[in-house]
């Protein structure tokens, strides 16, 4: 009786494992492979307890295959598939934006927002705005702050390193070439017309992202008040950006203090 129960349980575990294994159609999916292995391991132990030697033997064979496969896969991942391809993808996003990052921090911010929030759905609007808060309040070039922040969000220190380097590379190379050129002929290239049109496009870009963000973050009249105050104090009173962001943060502490949980 006891043995029958154990057997039944083992069978169930085995089926669950099989399910997890079949679910791992994606070769990079080591998680479900691991789950399948763990389940089959349990099933094997139960079969042994139940005294069903033949079944246990069979299962052990499958287990050996799985272990081997998993080992191979985790190895492969590190070397080619998940490793370089994935990393190259992230690298490429930031490289691309580094090539088109005209028009200051907010322009880069909007490009990144479009790429990571709207196209790839990796980060949220909130993440982005917090990155801008950090970039504005901490010292250092704001553009770099924002890029590093997004990289960190994606993959901790290593992601931050990737994003920073990939982002700076195009402008570094272009600048280096221009510097060598300048050294020889001591003139700067005249591309004022191109820059003028780019500036116009960047204006449109920034305004449209601001509208998008307003749509997603405006939850009530209080947000609207803060937004108008921040905008006015920047454009009319010309307050420093650190002061504005800091003050609005303090206002936030006061006005949201009675709410149980922030959304």
């Amino acid at each position: 009786m006891e043995k029958e129960k154990l057997k039944e349980q083992a069978e169930r575990l085995y089926l669950q494992g099989l399910h997890a294994f079949a679910g791992s159609a994606n070769p990079a999916d080591t998680e479900s492979m691991k789950r399948a292995t763990a389940l089959w391991q349990q099933a094997w132990e139960l079969y042994l307890k139940a005294g069903d030697k033949d079944r246990a033997k069979e299962l052990k064979k499958s287990l050996a295959v799985l272990y081997k496969k998993e080992y191979l896969k985790s190895h492969k991942n590190k070397e080619e598939q998940g490793g370089i391809v994935e990393k190259f993808k992230d690298w490429f996003i930031f490289f691309k934006i580094g090539c088109f990052g005209f028009g200051g921090p907010m322009a880069v911010f909007t490009l990144l927002e479009n790429e990571l929030v709207h196209e790839k759905h990796i980060l949220t609007h909130r993440d982005f705005l917090e990155g801008a808060v950090l970039g504005d309040t901490l010292p250092g070039p704001v553009t770099m702050d924002i890029v590093t922040y997004t990289g960190y969000k994606l993959n901790k220190w290593r992601g931050a390193l990737t994003s920073t380097l990939a982002f700076i590379l195009p402008s570094f190379v272009i600048m280096l070439i221009l510097a060598m050129y300048y050294d020889k002929y001591s003139v700067t290239p005249k591309i004022a017309d191109v820059l003028k049109c780019l500036g116009a496009a960047v204006t449109g870009l920034i305004l449209s992202v601001a509208l998008n963000l307003t749509k997603s973050e405006m939850k009530g009249y209080r947000e609207l008040c803060i937004l108008i105050w921040a905008f006015a104090s920047s454009i009319i009173f010309k307050l420093d950006i650190v002061v504005i962001v800091g003050l609005c943060g303090l206002v936030g502490i006061v006005i949201y203090r009675d709410e149980p949980k922030n959304p």
Binding site: L134, L138, G140, T143, M175, F231, S234, V245, G249, L250
Partner: protein, 174 residues
């Protein structure tokens, strides 16, 4: 040469650590150091460096590459660029880590909630600021209007918009 590299690195580490705000806020401090103090560049060369910093993509502080190159060749360019980025890299990583850790803290959460909205105001402000400088004639106003429609209504990838605007600028001069 080694001393120049060390000095370069020191100057740009300082600039990367102690300057708040982006873009032009940093320029006077850089000028003071590299033109007045160390005399790596003349005043005209420095102004050209800033102009080049504007016409290349990426942050304006990429002028550091130019200054580094003038002071000490390619190695100087690499050292200057790396030094100016490094402080904010470290600070941002630490700050992000801290935010993740203390996200449950109510005071910090509310602070961020208020500050997030303020940042939207800053984005509007940046748009108006850039617009004031670049919307000078019918052509540029048309481009700006077209890009708002493309981006906000039709969700075109902004990189195409930028590329298109650059091509328009190349084709119709004046």
């Amino acid at each position: 040469m080694i001393t120049t590299l060390l000095k370069l690195s020191w100057v740009f580490l300082k600039i990367g650590t102690f300057t708040f705000g982006g873009g032009f806020v940093i320029i006077p401090m850089v000028e003071n150091e590299v033109v007045n103090h160390y005399a790596w560049l003349t005043k005209t060369e420095f102004l050209d460096a800033v102009t080049l910093g504007q016409i290349t993509p990426g942050p304006i502080i990429i002028s550091a590459t130019f200054i580094g190159y003038k002071a000490c060749g390619i190695l100087g360019a690499i050292v200057a660029t790396a030094s100016v980025i490094l402080p904010s890299y470290i600070m941002i990583c630490l700050a992000t880590e801290a935010i993740e850790k203390f996200r449950e803290n109510k005071i910090l959460a509310n602070f961020l909630r208020g500050a997030r909205v303020a940042v939207i105001g800053m984005v509007f402000d940046a748009g108006v600021g850039i617009g004031r400088n670049s919307l000078v004639d019918v052509k540029t106003i048309l481009i700006a209007a077209a890009s708002i429609i493309c981006l906000f209504k039709y969700k075109v990838n902004p990189i195409w918009v930028l590329l298109g605007a650059g091509i328009v600028g190349l084709v119709c001069k004046g």
